[in-house]
């Protein structure tokens, strides 16, 4: 095709964009592929994660920063496998489990995923209610308005429209860095504790061990596996896009871990000023008189942003997984009436979770415990299936399967995650075992 305006560096043509140099080509291709990796990672910094990271800072100061640095490559290696499988097959994770491991494992994975996702959604709306209540907005306004906004985000019939909105929300998390600078942490200690594990005062206690496990569980969530694979399939990433999808995932992992670190620094400000708190909203209100209203309102609004990001990604993970297993149209490219089952699943998840939060005295503690138990069931199994699928030569051929060094790293990660999930579930289900 002829380039119409040759004097310009970049010229739009009927299909695609023509650029003059190789580096422009690389940047533009990356920008076109960019999205799923950042979104899956940053949406994982949801309301529960904000609470966990700020609690870690509030209870142990800067001592657990190193853990985030350790988790960075683990997040990347797991999600890289997901992106590779999505690009190679063009299908979601739930469909692959059904097709290669049969109906029993397929149903088990799907039901468990839907359960843990739904319970997590309740915690997201609880966080929206909590944060906006602290800003003087009634939950009877904030929760329905958020639910309507979250629905409008997806019913545009355009994947790209949804993706751009969500990337903008992800980038708003840069504000966490501003908040971290405003609370003036001791940067030399931050740098030291990020690379050298140090022991908090009081040594290794069961509370410290389980906070460490909670951080691991928060950073690697089961819905991420299902979400990114479906997202990659939805965006129709091509074989040649794999290197850019890897870069997208790596950038997402680094950004997410840095944001999580910033949350810990804000929590650490509470630790330094001996502020006792149960949730981030309480901490934000307590920090107001000391750090200023920008920090107070910033934490509250970023908590809402985290919950919105988590809700849209988790609801989509459920809707994609359920839609693909049911054989329905399951695409954000479709209009509402073209994929009614897919959109109905998304809307039902959002609406039911929002409605439950508005019921007075809803047992949130029970919901949080159930999330941990269900996540303990689904995460190891989803990762096992992922690893086995990435070694399925019959399906993927030599080009896409894991290399031996991949397998060595991934099996190590899986064994550690199995042990941690079991320990966390045991602590939640059998707390008496750990009190003697």
């Amino acid at each position: 095709m002829r380039v119409m305006e040759q004097e310009k560096t970049v010229t739009t043509v009927a299909t695609g964009v023509v650029v003059r140099s190789a580096w422009q080509r690389r940047i533009l291709t990356f920008l076109m592929v960019f999205g799923p990796g950042l979104i899956v990672m940053e949406a994982d910094n949801d309301a529960g994660a904000v609470s966990t990271y700020m609690q870690a800072g509030g209870q142990y100061g800067l001592h657990l920063l190193w853990l985030l640095v350790v988790l960075l490559p683990i997040c990347y290696f797991i999600q890289e496998m997901v992106a590779r499988l999505g690009i190679a097959t063009g299908k979601g994770h739930a469909a692959m489990i059904y097709e290669r491991f049969g109906k029993w494992w397929g149903r088990f994975s799907l039901i468990d995923l839907l359960a843990v996702n739904f319970l997590t959604l309740i915690t997201e709306f609880a966080a929206i209610s909590l944060a906006l209540s602290a800003l003087g907005i009634s939950p009877y306004i904030s929760v329905p308005v958020s639910a309507i906004g979250l629905t409008l985000m997806v019913v545009t019939g355009s994947y790209l429209c949804w993706e751009r909105i969500v990337i903008a929300l992800c980038l708003m998390d840069v504000t966490w860095f501003v908040l971290a600078f405003m609370v003036h942490p001791h940067w030399a200690t931050v740098a030291h504790n990020s690379v050298v594990p140090t022991m908090p005062a009081g040594g290794i206690t069961s509370s410290l061990v389980f906070l460490v496990i909670a951080i691991v569980g928060t950073t690697i969530a089961p819905w991420q596996l299902f979400f990114q694979q479906s997202c990659v399939a939805e965006k129709r990433l091509r074989f040649a896009d794999l290197k850019w999808a890897r870069l997208d995932t790596l950038i997402g992992a680094i950004f997410t871990v840095c944001v999580a670190g910033a949350m810990m620094l804000v929590g650490n400000y509470g630790f330094e000023h001996k502020v006792a708190f149960q949730d981030p909203a309480q901490l934000a209100l307590a920090l107001g008189p000391m750090a200023g209203s920008f920090v107070r309102n910033g934490v509250l609004l970023l908590m809402v942003n985290a919950a919105v990001l988590g809700t849209t990604a988790i609801s989509l993970a459920s809707a994609w997984a359920y839609g693909e297993v049911q054989g329905w149209e399951h695409s954000l490219h479709k209009k509402l009436w073209e994929a009614p089952g897919f959109y109905a699943t998304y809307i039902a998840c959002v609406a039911a979770a929002a409605a439950l939060v508005l019921i007075p005295h809803v047992p949130l503690q029970l919901v949080i415990i159930s999330v941990q138990v269900f996540a303990g069931l689904i995460l190891p199994s989803a990762i096992i299936f992922l690893q086995l699928l990435l070694n399925d030569r019959e399906l993927l051929g030599e080009r896409w399967v894991n290399r031996p060094w991949n397998n060595y790293i991934n099996w190590t990660i899986i064994v550690v995650l199995f042990a941690l999930s079991l320990l966390l579930a045991a602590q939640v289900i059998l707390p008496n075992l750990f009190t003697h």
Partner: protein, 74 residues
Amino acid sequence: MATFNVTPNMNGFRVVHPLDDITEQKCSTEGLGKIRMTRAVRISLGVLRAYLILMTLMLGYHVLDISGLLHKGH
């Protein structure tokens, strides 16, 4: 391979968005059936079953515990 996302021509390179590009032939499960039961697959699924049974037993114990059935004798 049906990847034409980057096409060099005389004036430069054409970069096509994945959503506008020609659909590729992906790795398909069609006709493959279930995964082959190699030793690694058998062991992995066995460990997973054992893990799930253990979790179910712990949950069962917890339900009995909070319902007070385990402490009736005291």
